[in-house]
Structure formats: C-alpha cells, structure tokens
Amino acid sequence: MRITEHPILDFLRGEEVSFFFDGQELIGFEGETIAAALHAAGVRVLGHSQTMHRPRGLFCAIGNCSSCLMVVDGEPNVRICVEKLKSGMRVETQHGKGCLR
C-alpha cells in the first residue's frame, strides 16, 4: 500500500509504468525498485528456496542479503530490491537457483 500523506516527506514518483508479475499486469512507477512496486501491489512472496521450497521475501532491501532474487526478463538471480523498474518488464517468481537460458 502506498503512503499518500506523510508529516515529513513528499514522495515524488516518476511516470506510471506497467510491468508483468508471473504474467499478470501490474502498475508501478519509474525510478522505484521492482521490490517497491511489487510490495505496493501486495506481493510479498518473491520466490521459493532450493531444497525446502520455503517462501522467500524481502529482508534487507539494499542489495546485501540476496533473499529477494527473482527472474527478470529471463535472467535469474536478479536482486529486485536494487533493480529499478522499467516499463514492460517481465518479473517472475524464482524457484531455487533459477536457470540460465
């Protein structure tokens, strides 16, 4: 959910863009990370672990921990907490290590 009013901050959002999450069209803003756009759309499960298939979500949000790896435009293991959203991006849930095509 997006914050509309804040006592200290103004949020200057970029152009509205559409992207795809597991084939479903979602809306986000240019300049924000993929993680931010997915969170705003209520998506918290970003992938599943290799062995135990446990759900994986965002943890550090600054590119340190690798909990948020997803497949972006066919490329696996993208840290979506630091990767910026672009119009038309195809973002997919990653299972385990992902595979290079």
Binding site: R2, I3, L9, R44, L46, P55, F59, I62
Partner: protein, 364 residues
Amino acid sequence: MKEIEILIIGGGPAGLSAATAAADLGANVLILERDDKPGGQLVKQTHKFFGSKKQYAGDRGYQIGNFLIEECEKNPKIEVWTETTALGIYEDGMVTAEGQGKHLKINPEKIIVATGASEKMIAFPNNDLPGIYGAGAVQTLMNLYGIVPGKRVLMIGAGNIGLIVSYQLMQAGVEVAGIIEASPTIGGYLVHAAKIRRAGVPILTSHTITKAYGQESVEGAMICKLDEKWQPIPGTEQDLKVDVICLAVGLSPLTELCFQADCHMKYVPELSGHVSLRNKYLETTRLGLYVAGDVSGVEEASSAMVEGRLAGVCAAYSLGYGNDVAPKLQGEALAELSELRAGPAGQKTVKGIMKLMDKGGAAC
C-alpha cells in the same frame, strides 16, 4: 585503468566526509558507490540528529545526506562513480570494480574502506518467512518509496533503531503492536521511548519472540517473558496477530573487502563483529588502507562522519598534502570522537577500540 590518489569505497556518511576532507587538503579523490546515488543510509533517516552543531545536530538525516552530497559535487577534486561495486583489492594495490556491466581497474595510492554495515538476523522458528524485515528495509520501503510494509507490526529490539523506526511506522499510518526487547532495559534514548509510550505502544523489556507463523507469509508471532537468566518463563506466552515482524537487533560491519585485502582482523563484540585492527588514525595493518564508519565498528552516522573526516585528512596528509593544517584537523576529529563516545553507549565502543589497539595489533 584509472589512476587516483585516494580511492574511497562507499559513498555513505563516512565516505562522503572522507572525500571532502581529503579533497579540501588538495588530494584527488574517487568514490565508488554501488547505489545509483551516494548518501548511504542517510537518505532514509527522517529523524533529527543529536550531538553538537559540528555533526549537524538538529538536522534530519536525509538533509545531512543531501548536504554531504552537495559538498562533494561542488568540489572539482572529487569524482563519484555510482552503480559501481568494488570487487577486490589485490596484493599489488590494484582495485577492481564492476560498474554498469563493465569490469574496471583502479590503481589508487591510498584506499579508504567505508562500506558500512548490514543487518543482523536472530534465530527463531520461521524467521525466513516473507514479512520479516530488517529495520533498514522497512525504512527503505517507507521513507524512500512511500510504501508501507503491512498493517500491523511487531518490532524486535528497543535500541535507537527499533524506537525510531517504530515512530516512523506510526507516522506512516501503520499500527505498531508492540516493541519487545530481550534485555531488562531499553537500549535507546529515553526521549524516543517516551514518544512511543505516549502514543500508547507498549515496550516490553525482558521479552523475546519464540516463533513466527503463517502459511506463505507472516500472520502472527508468539512472544514470551524472560527471567533474569534470559530463560523463557512458562505461561507468559502471548499470541500477536501481526503481518510484519521488524528486526532491529543490530548491524554487523561489512568487512569482506578488509578480509580479502588481508588486513589483520579481530572479532570484537563491542564493535558488533569482525573488524580490522587499526591505529588511532584509522590506518589498518595493510599500510595505506584506512577504515571509517560502521565498517570499523558499528556506531552511528554522527561518528561515521567524523571518522570519515579523520581518515580523509590522514590519507591526504600521508601523500604530502596539508602539512600545515593536517595535525590540527586530526586533533580536532579525535577530540570530537572522544566527545561523541563520552556517554554510556560510547563507553562500549571505546572498550572495543582499545582491544583493536592492543599490543601486537596495528602499528600505533
């Protein structure tokens, strides 16, 4: 290949302060910043800083960040490479980095490592569920992107970060179910704690989380009270329906590059993890390599800025710059650090630093 006098790795409060200090004395400086703009974690700090005027007390964190960035931008001796991640520091002094898909080589005369710290995790069942975040992640989502992490939050840790982020969650319209803290006392400043209690949020000391639960993401948490030996007291369990668990349980220095550069390292609990041995001028056992900010021991942004300034002055001075003023500037920075560490929290840091300066440690 890029030749440079001083290479600074990390463009947060320590790195930016180091750059300005070194460039002011006449040295040419290059900053490597992995993010798309410098400022480090100051960009998401909306609270006003304490300390003295010299450390920008009274200003909000992001305003301080903007000020430091402006100072660097207007100095022609400072170059900043954003979206560039340092990869390694080699025996011959060469540094490699990845920047915008390219492999880069840099040959610096001096290096200042100012890579900061990363969030700690604690052990409890289901601590890997989506909906469990480091406190910094919550700040990033909320204060940078204007997105709330959920509806109802359990905060773990009543240090300054736990208290400040709880308050920021309330400012963003999120309910904070409570703050729990395993130790019997609140670690953060009481002025922050009082603000939170006034808003009706309980701060439960001697409490811990026993598990998180939920199918695909967090749906709740079990907490319980601890006795004086930090053992769970049976019958004190409480079930909290929350969709977010926020961990504010401390940071660890991001010292991979120091290890890799073969600096002599030591585990110092008072400084929150493994840190490089170094002398009082922040030079490590690898000569010409300095550390500044959280990477040299986790503290806060105020001391990171002063350490950055000290490392910048020392690196430039060692290259022959500022012979007339550098000793005075070093003395001032050291005095400011002592002043910042004069309180009870600072005593822990001082004790940790003493361990780093032991005999057999860095050449002092």
